[in-house]
């Protein structure tokens, strides 16, 4: 690596100049990337950061010429300078030419966001790794297999000799991304493009994958182009940062400058939104303290929910005060979603009770209710879902979506229904004139507002919000969180706010319950749990969150929680896909 004679100034590994990538549409030409220039030095990390639609993924795909149809590079150059002095302009190569195919996977490799769907479901992991080796390194089958096993060992997959013959769905989420990394690094590329590689992973797994990439980057001496929307990750790994918005570079410079002397207002907003999550919302701080002597509106006692041998909820007890926001935090597979659904009585609980205090003061056990009584109780408990795209029927207009609960419960129809829908839309900050349109005409944040409007239609008393803001961009996330808090004060709602994101919980919640493998390990005031928790698992969880400050990169304080009990963990698969 270091045998380059330092006579002439060294050319950067990748030099992108005035890149324009565009998608021809019926209505004209859409420039996904507009006049973008940046360089990547050998061995360095460039983070491209931006929200959805910023063009950061298209930029990555332009480099390898694997832009989704009908996109194409319109102008600009992408010079790849290799150590042996050769330079090639990738933008000039045809997407199907042999020249670009020889570069893909050999000089420049790529890993993606969703390791599950990025690996073939019907080919073994080994098959997909050896394929690259045989293609570019011209290895024999046996050589490639040995090399693949050694690669799997380098990415710390246990028992690589057996793991090589397994399929992607037999791996856990983190293992899959490790296998993807092994595949990408098979031919020792000069540049690794990582497109949101940790977004679908739990925060503890994310920390491990980031460590792994950093370690391999060092030992292989390769450059990394890291695409993310998470400023915390950027602060932890970047040498240089490129901030993108609507296809244009907003700011480009060393990480220190971006975080501590940002020039562009958009960059400041991005950093501000992360810092905002480091403390409680202003609206919440200004609110008078909750009446903790009030009788709880919901009391969950010794609730268990088993699915076969899996104990999704194991003896959980927690209570919810009127007007309170109770956060439930945990990693995937911790049972937090099951908890939300159990409270909605979408399951029949295995054991335990859920005592719900009605407005008139009488108490019913949600776990035992049937028929009309259950229907009545469900009107007062509503849900907001994670996926603003999947949770709205694409064949119903917004008015139908929001008005449906009123209609099926026979509360309003005709003109009255229409008026109530308009009022609800105004309440959640939507223009009622759009009510005859279909969900696809709305952005992610607007759709989530529609989902919230549907949830408050029947004047509920408790709302269960399951990862309600996880799919939203940071700039929109706060609008939705603030909307939820505004509605809470207006309508006297109690929230059960389920999230994997401690920052969001800290911002929003009064009290927090931490879940781990179906058990509630810690409950307490949000301030305390999010900043100085008692339980070692919560401490481990907090330690894994990337701090949004490049000066604070101490990875050594991070640790992983291991259960003290003698429970043996399952070997490879432990069901930790993200949703």
């Amino acid at each position: 690596m270091s045998d380059i004679v330092p006579m002439t100034p060294r050319k950067p590994l990748l030099d992108v100049r005035n890149l324009v990538t565009q998608f021809p549409l019926r209505t004209g030409i859409f420039k996904a990337v507009d006049n973008l220039s940046f360089t990547i030095e050998a061995g360095k990390t460039l983070c491209v950061v931006g929200e959805s639609g910023s063009g950061k993924s298209v930029t990555a795909r332009s480099i390898l010429q694997i832009i989704d149809s009908p996109g194409e590079i319109a102008s600009g150059s992408i010079m790849l300078n290799t150590a042996d002095g050769l330079s090639v302009d990738l933008a000039k190569l045809h997407p199907r030419s042999k020249a670009i195919r020889n570069i893909r996977g050999r000089d420049i490799a790529m890993i993606f966001q969703e390791p599950m769907s990025s690996l073939s479901p019907v080919h073994t992991v080994g098959d997909q790794i050896t394929e690259v080796l045989r293609l570019h390194m011209k290895m024999t089958k046996a050589e490639a297999r040995n090399e693949a096993i050694s690669l799997l060992r380098q990415v710390e997959i246990p028992n690589p000799e057996q793991a090589i013959d397994r399929y992607a769905f037999q791996y856990s989420g983190g293992m899959r991304q490790r296998a993807m990394i092994a595949m990408a690094l098979a031919c020792r590329p000069k540049l690794l493009i990582a497109d949101e590689p940790t977004t679908a992973l739990d925060v503890t797994t994310q920390a491990e994958i980031l460590d792994l990439i950093a370690r391999l980057q060092k030992s292989f001496g390769m450059a990394v182009l890291f695409i993310t929307h998470d400023m915390g990750v950027v602060a932890q790994i970047a040498d240089d940062v490129l901030v993108m918005h609507h296809g244009v570079a907003k700011e480009y410079g060393p990480v220190e400058q971006i975080f501590h002397a940002p020039q562009d207002p958009y960059t400041r907003m991005l950093i501000g939104s992360v810092l905002k999550l480091e403390q409680k919302a202003e609206i919440r701080l200004a609110r008078p303290p909750l009446d903790t002597s009030a009788k709880p509106i919901l009391e969950v006692r010794n609730l268990s929910q088993h699915f076969g041998t899996l104990k999704a909820l194991d003896d959980v007890s927690i209570s919810l005060l009127p007007g309170e926001t109770l956060g439930i935090v945990g990693e995937s597979g911790s049972g937090k979603t099951t908890m939300g659904r159990a409270i909605m009585r979408l399951y029949d609980p295995t054991a335990g009770e859920m005592l719900y205090r009605k407005a008139d003061g009488s108490v019913v056990d949600l776990a035992r209710l049937e028929g009309a009584a259950l229907k009545e109780a469900r009107r007062e408990l509503r849900m907001v879902f994670q996926d603003p795209f999947g949770s709205l029927n694409p064949r119903m207009t917004v008015a139908q979506v929001i008005g449906e609960p009123l209609l099926v419960n026979g509360i309003a129809r005709g003109k009255e229904l229409d008026e109530r829908v308009c009022h609800l839309m105004e309440q959640v900050g939507l223009d009622p004139r759009g009510r005859e349109r279909y969900p696809h005409a709305f952005s992610g944040g607007q759709r989530q507002r529609i989902g919230i409007a549907r949830a408050i239609t029947l004047k509920p008393r408790i709302i269960v919000a399951d990862e309600a803001t996880s799919a939203l961009d940071v700039s929109v996330r706060f609008q939705v969180l603030d909307l939820l808090m505004k509605l809470q004060d207006e309508l006297q709602l109690a929230y059960i706010f389920i999230s994997h994101d401690i920052g969001v919980i800290r911002y929003m919640c009064d009290r927090v319950g931490v879940m781990y493998r179906g058990k509630l390990v810690e409950v307490g005031e949000a301030e305390k749990v999010c900043n100085a928790p008692d339980h070692p698992y919560t401490q481990a969880l907090l330690s894994a969150i990337p701090r949004p400050d490049p000066r604070d990169r101490d990875r050594s304080r991070r640790f992983r929680y291991t259960e003290p009990a003698t429970i043996s963990s399952s070997p490879i698969k432990n069901g930790s896909s993200a949703r």
């Binding site: 795909r61 390898l64 694997i66 989704d68 199907r96 195919r101 020889n102 570069i103 893909r104 996977g105 050999r106 490799a109 790529m110 993606f112 966001q113 969703e114 769907s117 990025s118 690996l119 073939s120 479901p121 019907v122 080919h123 073994t124 394929e131 690259v132 293609l135 570019h136 399929y167 769905f169 037999q170 993807m180 595949m183």
Partner: protein, 328 residues
């Protein structure tokens, strides 16, 4: 896996009994029996059959017995000595009649299946990869044409063209001189010259729908991230298409085997009659119309057995090609 297969095979036994009994009853349900049909046919040609003859005929065929007795006699014959009974109309053992026809049916069905898949799958893949290209539009037009033209009409037109324009001997699967001849190289060759016409006709309609299905399956798979991953590895477009999306897009076709097998017998009746093909379908139709119950019953039993075997085969194949089914 073996346990699964054994369980499925065991379940086939009661299913077969139930279906065969149901079929037997259904065939008997219309008023009258084979003798009434037979007398009616004779009456049409001015032959009078007296009551005594009719009674003795019934006696001979065992038609006077109660239904249950008839059924058990029939089933016992099949189980104990593979005897499917005698066809009233043909005055021949049913098994002989069926197997002779089944061989030719199989040849025709396999030939048209191969033709269909060989044409449709590549076109479907092409149409999906080059979506909205001129080629795609042409094949789409062809598909809808093939779907909408009834196959008997196509059969008539092709017969006309072949017979009038090219002076070919059409209809049937053999020229007259080979019809009763024993198998030889020349007869095989004669079969080949006759086979193409029904194969084309049968293939056109099923090709059309298959192109659409394959195109849709491929369009589902093509935008999936694993295709991009393969592309980012540097695989050539052709190789990655074959190895990844096409492999997965083919899986749904394996499920279709379940109904391909029974279709051997009951499918393409109209075309077979129009072209006068010596396959199973026209014989089944004839047997049902004449209430030739042992012959019809044997066919129904065969269809049922093939359906069950077909779905077992497709389940086993699916498990073999798709690890998600095998391992989860």
């Amino acid at each position: 896996m073996l346990k699964f297969i054994a369980k499925r095979l065991l379940w086939m036994i009661p299913s077969l009994f139930a279906v065969s009994f149901l079929a037997f009853v259904l065939i008997q349900l219309p008023p009258g029996d084979y003798v009434t049909t037979y007398i009616a046919t004779l009456a049409a040609s001015n032959e009078i059959v007296d009551q005594n003859t009719a009674a003795s005929l019934r006696e001979r065929f065992g038609l006077g017995d109660p239904l249950m007795i008839q059924y058990f006699k029939w089933i016992w014959g099949i189980l104990s000595r593979g005897d499917f009974g005698i066809s009233f109309e043909w005055q021949q053992p049913v098994s002989g009649l069926i197997w002779e026809r089944m061989a030719l049916t199989l040849v025709l069905a396999v030939a048209s299946l191969i033709a269909t898949w060989a044409i449709a799958l590549p076109i479907g893949v092409y149409s999906a990869v080059r979506k909205y290209s001129i080629g795609d539009y042409m094949f789409t037009a062809f598909s809808f044409f093939g779907l909408s033209v009834p196959s008997f009409l196509l059969a008539l037109v092709l017969m006309y063209v072949a017979a009038v324009q090219f002076g070919q001997n059409v209809g049937g699967l053999f020229s007259p001189e080979y019809e009763t001849a024993s198998w030889s190289i020349a007869k095989m060759f004669d079969l080949m010259t006759h086979l193409w016409l029904p194969v084309i006709i049968l293939a056109v309609s099923s090709t059309a729908s298959l192109i659409r299905v394959m195109r849709a399956n491929m369009l589902d798979e093509l935008p999936k991230p694993y295709v991009t991953t393969a592309r980012a590895k540097g695989l050539s477009e052709f190789r990655l298409l074959i190895k990844y999306p096409m492999r997965i897009a083919l899986n749904p076709f394996i499920s279709t085997i379940a109904w391909l097998l029974p279709n051997l017998i009951s499918g393409s009746v109209v075309v077979a009659i129009v072209l006068n093909l010596p396959t199973a379908a026209p014989l089944l139709l004839q047997a049902l119309m004449a209430q030739d119950m042992y012959l019809a019953g044997a066919f129904v039993l065969l269809i049922c057995a093939l359906t069950l075997i077909g779905s077992l085969i497709s389940d086993i194949l699916l498990a073999l090609v798709d690890p998600r089914i095998r391992l989860e």
